[in-house]
Amino acid sequence: MSLTSPAAQPAAASGSRRSHAGLLQAWLPKLVLAPSVAISLLFVYGFMLWTFILSLTNSRMLPSYEFVGFGQYARLMANDRWWVASTNLVLFGGLFVAICLVLGLLLAILLDQRIRQEGALRTVYLYPMALSFIVTGVVWKWLLNPGLGVQAMVRGWGFENFRFDWITDPDMAVYTLVIAAVWQASGFVMALFLAGLRGIDDSIVKAAQLDGASLPRIYWRVVIPCLRPVVFSAVMILSHIAIKSFDLVVALTGGGPGYASDLPATFMYAHAFTRAQIGLGSASAMLMLGGVLAILIPYLYSELRNRRHG
């Protein structure tokens, strides 16, 4: 890259005039970066291409390179389980993002009211983020177990007709994923918002107070609009987590009952690794990548534009 750049040309042209030490210093940074760049090109971009190629073949147990065009994508579109997984992702992702945002913002605002023991509360809200999704899944599976968990506990309190058996209900199982995921990630969103709140210039709020605005109104009209960039990045991160969600499903519902709570990530894994459908699995992986890009590209675009203008 540097050899063709205009800025480097004179240096290259007169390279012979430079001392050995000078040449080495000029090349060392590039040498240091080279392995990482090579790794990135090979293992990220190369592998993406490779997966794309696999998705165009009829590979099953082992990769084969017999091309079938976009046949695997057509199969995917006709696959009932894929549609369940995709619909689940929209449901799960949408609810997960929305609830995390509302809960995170609410907790952040409440915590921002000069609360005693704020540090301790913050620690409590945020610790689930340190856990593995597998641990989260195992715990919530236990809590949601109708026979021994929350349902049994509430019934034990005398509410004999209380029902909370979503995890065994094919229509509701996907919502248990939402509960567990919100539990894990909402504290993190709270931390993002709290950092955003603390970053707001105090004098803006003081000015609004002098203008006679009430506290809720100050938040609604002045403070929350300032948090737009935080909302933006939170949505970005959360949807990213949602699309990648794999471990949580495996540990909490196993994709079940049946495949009622499958997500694309588990669909991909099941087909590529256990059901010997490498071609189909690859096609689903490419669609997941497409989903991530659909969120990422507008985000990066606006980020870059803001930075250029800012």
């Binding site: 970066l33 760049v37 696999l54 809200y125 989260t136 540990a251």
Partner: protein, 292 residues
């Protein structure tokens, strides 16, 4: 943010009470699962009956922990999660060290030795933070096979290093961008070279970002499941995979207390790190996720 002169009216006091109630209820929501997990892991199996979710153990016992650590069945074998706990450590430590060192050097070269195209290279590498890993699983499996690293700890270390570099580079790059470049200019004039400037000038001020990066990488790799389940065999599994196998092993009676003890064991290292260095953990989360 509340006004400094607080009127102690009845309404204000009531609002304050509601505020604290809501915050405490939320704390309860977050704490409940951990509490249940801990309580259950200390109960003998006989005490686990419907409706006793929150009851404290009448005869607290560490037996479930012992069983989870040394005897519980994870799939076909019954040797507990202890051995996999050490697998995780054997994978995490080298992977964290290597990816942090590489990330530090990358961040340094990208910010303090800019050259034409270096920003482009950074953007190129940054993309690795965002891809869903499903898109690299199959080629990676085949490549590990070619390298003779299938189902080995070395293979998992390699995978974690490869896909961790994007994050570590991002962390260090964003940190070093804020370190005045004039420091490097001064050192160049003083006669120091690339590595010496890094070692003598940059590294001594990098403690915070090293801590953030190490914690981030540690949590990510310790908590990883996808790479673990895809690229390990029985004897090289990380603890998350073993935990999942343990919970899903369907032989004999469901021993929930053992499940919970195993989950606690898998969760403890990252929880301890979080409690000890929460500030850096949060900084990593926000820095790692917000932007490049």
């Amino acid at each position: 943010m509340a006004d400094p002169i607080r009127r102690r009216t009845l309404g204000a006091r009531l609002a304050r009470a509601v505020l604290y109630t809501v915050l405490l209820l939320a704390a309860l929501f977050y704490l409940l699962p951990l509490a249940v997990m801990l309580i259950t892991s200390l109960k003998p199996l006989a005490e686990i009956t419907p409706g006793t979710l929150l009851s404290l153990p009448r005869e607290p016992t560490l037996a479930p922990w012992a069983k989870a650590w040394g005897e519980a069945c994870t799939g076909m074998r019954c040797e507990g999660v202890g051995v996999y706990f050490f697998n995780s450590i054997a994978i995490v430590v080298p992977a964290v060290l290597v990816s942090t060192i590489v990330g530090a050097l990358n961040g340094y070269a990208l910010t303090k030795w800019r050259f034409k195209g270096s920003e482009l290279l950074f953007a190129l590498m940054l993309f690795g933070c965002f891809i869903p890993f499903q898109v690299v699983l199959l080629p990676m499996a085949q490549t590990l096979g070619w390298l003779g690293l299938s189902s080995s700890r070395a293979g998992l270390i390699l995978v974690h290093v490869i896909f961790g570099i994007a994050f570590t580079t991002l962390f260090f790059r964003n940190f070093y961008v804020a370190v005045p470049t004039e420091l490097v200019s001064a050192a160049k004039l003083d006669g120091a070279g690339f590595f010496r400037i890094f070692w003598r000038i940059l590294l001594p001020v990098s403690a915070p970002i090293v801590v953030v990066t190490v914690i981030w990488q540690f949590t990510q790799i310790w908590n990883d499941f996808l790479f673990g389940v895809a690229f390990s065999a029985h004897d090289t599994q990380p603890v998350t995979v073993a935990l999942n196998n343990l919970v899903n092993t369907s032989t004999g009676v469901r021993e929930y207390n053992v499940d919970m003890a195993a989950a606690m064991i898998a969760a403890l290292p990252t929880l301890i790190v979080y409690v000890l260095a929460g500030k850096y953990f949060v900084r990593g989360l926000t820095a790692g996720s917000v932007k490049g």
